[in-house]
Symmetry: C2
Subunit: 207 residues, 2 copies
Amino acid sequence: MSTLGNSTNIFWQECQVGKIDRQKLLNQKGCVVWITGLSGSGKSTLACSLSKELHSRGKLSYVLDGDNLRHGLNKDLCFKPEDRAENIRRTGEVAKLFADAGLICLASLISPYRKDRDMCRAMMNDSNFIEVFMNMPLELCEERDPKGLYKLARAGKIKGFTGIDDPYEPPLNCEMEIKQIDGVCPAPIAMAGQVVSYLKGRGFLES
Amino acid sequence: MSTLGNSTNIFWQECQVGKIDRQKLLNQKGCVVWITGLSGSGKSTLACSLSKELHSRGKLSYVLDGDNLRHGLNKDLCFKPEDRAENIRRTGEVAKLFADAGLICLASLISPYRKDRDMCRAMMNDSNFIEVFMNMPLELCEERDPKGLYKLARAGKIKGFTGIDDPYEPPLNCEMEIKQIDGVCPAPIAMAGQVVSYLKGRGFLES
């Protein structure tokens, strides 16, 4: 029995079927691929392409998209600093559950602050947290502006927008970086290929 | 683009690999088995036994245990009424994600209030929400008292304890009920067998 945060009289329930068993069933290892970067840097594109590539190899993945979660789990949160942190904390906790379930969890969130990403990493076994930095220039992201948000931010209609009037803190020790080569962005399938190679090399695509 | 709750400028991101594809990979259908009942009624026992039975059939399930979630996702919540409701809301949202990922999600929570359980049901396709009521007499649960909590509640050391000084509202239209037969509790494997039969009969154990 333990007292945790605001809860008392909480027990930990252990089941006979554990992560190892689920991984055997799926022939893969559960982990979290945490994709971070500016709005418009291609996070969702990578996550979707990656889920397609993994699926074609018979691997089970699931995308946790920051925006999508705000339709459900995180719909009580807004964009003030403490809510942004809580948004990322909850996403990290859910990603951890998916990894424990044996899935390759693809978390796609701007997650601009280093300390929030590091908090998520600290929740789980470090080797199961693969931070992928979409290292694209702000100018490119702003030119793409797929959601029209940079325009709104520049016009002052959105406050605290990452890259405009709120900082993005690039990772210092991420596992992977996706960037332009000679000023050209890799195609989605090429970006996904990079991550698949990494996962394969580290043994995540077998149990 | 939409405004949702406290969030604005939120888009919905759709991927090419969807629930149907994941279900084909797993040869099962994603759903939520929501196990409700008094403390000591056997919820966790059923969830664990069920995960074992499903695993032995090559089916992927994952247990969301109310107490376990309070160690992570819900560690900011206590047991006051609004936090209890939020605890259940978040669990429902996460269970929905697991079902969408193609898993048979086994949610095990006292979830004493009808409106909270119905809120979770309303989050998803009704046919994918299977409410299992552990219909055990309070006297039996209190006699078992596996966590020693009834004793504390009777001594006034825990306030608002379900069944003692806070109500348990039994389901009115649950999909399944587990109860004593001639005053005898079914063995865990028998309880699990009941649920497996239900899932099989409804086509959840094939894609």
